[in-house]
C-alpha cells in the first residue's frame, strides 16, 4: 500500500509546551554547574582550534625565554649553562606559565564585550560557567607552555634527576597554580573597561612578583630587604616546589604552601569574579 503524503510547505514546529506543564527549578545543581563548565570549556577549545595564532604566546615565548635566559645568565650565575639549567628551567617554567594566565583575563574581557555573553547571561545555566569554562579551557594553553619549556630545556641539556613521574607531577602543579592565579586576572578582566587595561594592570602585578623571586638568581645574592620579599613571595615557593620535584623527586613544604596559596586565591577570587561578572550589564 502506498500513501502519498503531502509535505507541508513550511515546517511548523510543534506546539510550545505551556509554562504550567514545564518542570521548572530556580536553583542550579552542582552537577549542572560542572556540565555547563565543561561545555563552556569545549567552546574555548573550539575557539583555540579556530584561531591557532593566539597560541603564539604559549609556543614561541617559552622557547625564546628559555634559550635567552640560559645563555645570558648561565655563565654569570652558575659558571656555565649546564649548571644553571636545574635552577633556571623550573623558574622559567613558573614565570612563563603564570604570565600566560594574564592572557586569560585579557581574552575574557574581549570575549565579554561580544554579544554572545549577553546570551549566556540569559540562559538558565550556572552563572559561573562562562568564566569557569574559559579558565578551564586555558589550562590547555598552560599545558602547551609547560611541555615546550621542558622540551627546550631537555634539548639544551637539562636532564631532571627526579625522573619522569615527578616531572609530570611538577608540571601538573604548575598548571593547577596558574589556573588558580588566572582567577585574579579574570577578576581584572571582568572589572576593567578595556582589554588593554587588563594587560597593563596584570603586568604591573606580575612583573615584580615573578622577577622578585628565586626564579633566576640565588636568593643569597640579594640585598636584605629583597631577600625578605623573595622568601615570602608565593612564586618562590612554587619555584622551589618544582625544583624539589624535578631535580630531586622530593615533595617538600613548599609544595603544600603553593597548593594552599592556590586554593586561597580560588576561594577569594572566584566568588569576587562571579559577583562582578553578574553585576556588569
Amino acid at each position: 500500500m502506498s500513501t502519498i503524503v503531502q509535505a507541508p510547505l513550511k515546517q511548523t514546529p510543534g506546539r510550545i509546551t505551556p509554562p504550567s506543564e514545564r518542570k521548572l527549578k530556580n536553583h542550579t545543581s552542582f552537577s549542572q554547574t560542572l556540565r555547563n563548565t565543561f561545555t563552556m570549556a569545549y567552546r574555548g577549545l573550539v575557539k583555540i582550534r579556530r584561531t591557532p595564532e593566539q597560541l603564539v604566546d604559549v609556543t614561541v615565548q617559552p622557547i625564546i625565554f628559555t634559550l635567552m635566559f640560559a645563555y645570558l645568565f648561565g655563565g654569570a650565575i652558575a659558571g656555565n649553562v649546564q649548571n644553571y639549567l636545574p635552577t633556571l628551567i623550573p623558574g622559567i617554567l613558573v614565570q612563563t606559565v603564570i604570565t600566560t594566565s594574564v592572557v586569560t583575563g585579557v581574552q575574557l574581557r574581549e570575549d565579554m564585550d561580544k554579544g554572545v555573553f549577553d546570551r549566556f547571561r540569559s540562559l538558565p545555566i550556572a552563572r559561573i560557567a562562562p568564566l569557569s569554562g574559559a579558565l578551564l579551557a586555558d589550562t590547555v594553553r598552560y599545558a602547551i607552555a609547560t611541555t615546550i619549556t621542558f622540551v627546550v630545556g631537555y634539548v639544551i641539556g637539562y636532564h631532571p634527576a627526579g625522573g619522569i613521574g615527578p616531572v609530570v607531577l611538577a608540571a601538573l602543579v604548575v598548571i593547577a597554580c596558574s589556573w588558580a592565579i588566572s582567577w585574579i586576572f579574570a577578576f581584572f578582566g571582568v572589572i576593567a573597561r578595556t582589554a588593554s587595561s587588563v594587560q597593563g594592570i596584570s603586568m604591573l602585578v606580575l612583573f615584580p612578583l615573578t622577577f622578585l623571586s628565586n626564579a633566576y638568581v640565588p636568593v643569597k645574592s640579594l640585598p636584605q630587604v629583597l631577600q625578605w620579599f623573595v622568601n615570602i613571595n608565593p612564586i618562590s615557593h612554587l619555584v622551589t616546589a618544582v625544583r624539589d620535584l624535578a631535580n630531586n623527586g622530593t615533595v617538600g613544604a613548599d609544595l603544600w604552601i603553593s597548593l594552599l596559596g592556590a586554593a586561597i586565591i580560588v576561594v577569594v577570587f572566584a566568588p569576587l569574579t562571579v559577583r562582578a561578572y553578574m553585576r556588569k550589564a
Binding site: 510550545i16 509546551t17 509554562p19 542550579t28 579556530r50 554579544g115 540562559l123 538558565p124
Partner: protein
C-alpha cells in the same frame, strides 16, 4: 472607540494569566532615567509591540524583563515568576534575541547551536539533531560550516533567532529584529514571527518602525523617554488621533500661515506643517466640516495645488502623542504604511 492612555484590562488576578506583568519599572544610568515607570501587561499567545525611537528605553526594558539587568524600582513577572527572585526559572521560559547578534563570531553556525543546546541540557546527539533542524528551518543549512564572519546581517539575525528557539521558550524577546535588514529579509523575519505565534509562543517585540508594529503586534505600547505614553491595539491608537487626516498643498507659500489659522478656526484642530514640502496635515474628525474649510479658503483667496485624505498611520499617532517624529534621531522608516501611501519625513 477612543483609546484610553492605558487600556489593558487588569481583571486577571493571579500572575499566571499574563505572559509578562510589569509594574513601575525604573532603571537609572547615572542621571539618565532610561526607563521611568514602565507598566506592561502581555497576554500569552500574542505579539506585543514596544514602539519607540532610539534611546526611548526599549532595550533597557527588555533587559530587565529578561533578567539581564536589575530594575532600580518596580516589579516584573514572567508567567507569574518574579524576574528577580525566580530569575533562573524565568530564564527557562524565555528566549532573547538582542539587537546585536548574540552568537559566537569565531565559531560556525552549527558549533554555535550545538554549544547552546548542550548548555540547555540536551545530549550530544540531541544537540546535533537540534542544530541541523534549526539550520534547516531558517534556511542556513548551506552556510552551516562557514565561519560567522562571512554571514550577512540577515543570516546572522536568523541564526540568532534560531539560537533563541532551542529550548522552545513560551516567551520570546525580539529586540529590533529587523533593524538594518533589507525589505525581503524583513518579510522573512515577519513570517517567522507569525509562525512562532501560531505555535503558541508569546512575543515581545521592540521596533522603531511603525509599520512593523502595525503589521505584527496585537497590542502596542508607545514608549518615549522611558515612559509608556500610549497603549492599545493599532486601531485604537490610530482612532485616538482621528479617523483620517487631511493633506493640503498651498499654491503660494505666503498663504501657509493664513491656511493654518483657518484650519484651527474651522476644524478646531491644529494643522502640522511639513517644512520642505509646504504641505499641511490636519486631523479630520468630521469630514463634513471640510466643505466649510474649503469655502473659507476660497473666500480668503488661498489656492490649493493638491488636496488628499489619508487614513491615519502610526506615524501620525506617534507624532501626535509624543510631539516628535518616531524616526527623530534615525534613518528612514522602511517601506510604507498599510495603505501603501508614501509618507513624508518630518525632520523636526
Amino acid at each position: 472607540m477612543n483609546a484610553p492612555r492605558y487600556s489593558a484590562d487588569t481583571r486577571a488576578g493571579s500572575g499566571e494569566d499574563w505572559a509578562i506583568e510589569a509594574h513601575g519599572l525604573v532603571k537609572t544610568f547615572g542621571s539618565n532615567r532610561a526607563v521611568d515607570g514602565v507598566d506592561l501587561l502581555v497576554k500569552p499567545g500574542t505579539v506585543y509591540g514596544v514602539l519607540g525611537p532610539n534611546g526611548a528605553g526599549k532595550t533597557t526594558t527588555i533587559n530587565m524583563l529578561a533578567t539581564l539587568l536589575k530594575a532600580d524600582a518596580g516589579t516584573a513577572a514572567v508567567f507569574g515568576h518574579d524576574v528577580q527572585k525566580e530569575a533562573q526559572i524565568v530564564r527557562q521560559l524565555i528566549g532573547v534575541t538582542g539587537q546585536f547578534a548574540s552568537v559566537d563570531e569565531t565559531l560556525s553556525a552549527t558549533e554555535n547551536l550545538i554549544i547552546f543546546s548542550r548548555l540547555l541540557g540536551l545530549g550530544r546527539a540531541e544537540s546535533k539533531v537540534k542544530a541541523a533542524e534549526l539550520l534547516e528551518r531558517f534556511g542556513l543549512t548551506d552556510a552551516a560550516k562557514r565561519p560567522l564572519k562571512k554571514f550577512s546581517g540577515g543570516m546572522r539575525r536568523r541564526l540568532d533567532l534560531a539560537a533563541s528557539l532551542i529550548a522552545q521558550p513560551p516567551l520570546i524577546f525580539l529586540d529590533e529584529p529587523t533593524t538594518g535588514l533589507d525589505p525581503r529579509t524583513r518579510g522573512q523575519m515577519w513570517d517567522t514571527i507569525r509562525e512562532l505565534v501560531a505555535s503558541g509562543s508569546t512575543i515581545l517585540l521592540t521596533t522603531q518602525y511603525l509599520d512593523e508594529a502595525d503589521q505584527l503586534a496585537d497590542r502596542i505600547a508607545v514608549i518615549d523617554r522611558g515612559r509608556v505614553v500610549a497603549e492599545g491595539t493599532a486601531d485604537e491608537l490610530k482612532a485616538s488621533v482621528g479617523t483620517s487626516s487631511l493633506q493640503l498643498r498651498i499654491e503660494d507659500a505666503a498663504d501657509t500661515q493664513d491656511a493654518l489659522t483657518a484650519i484651527e478656526r474651522v476644524l478646531g484642530v491644529r494643522g502640522t506643517l511639513t517644512p520642505e514640502a509646504a504641505r499641511i496635515t490636519a486631523p479630520m474628525a468630521d469630514p463634513d466640516r471640510v466643505t466649510d474649510l474649503l469655502v473659507t479658503f476660497r473666500e480668503a483667496g488661498i489656492h490649493l495645488t493638491e488636496m488628499s485624505v489619508q487614513k491615519p498611520s502610526l506615524d501620525e499617532v506617534f507624532l501626535t502623542i509624543t510631539g516628535h517624529d518616531a524616526a527623530d534621531q534615525n534613518e528612514t522608516t522602511p517601506g510604507s504604511d498599510e495603505n501603501g501611501v508614501e509618507k513624508e519625513k518630518v525632520n523636526a
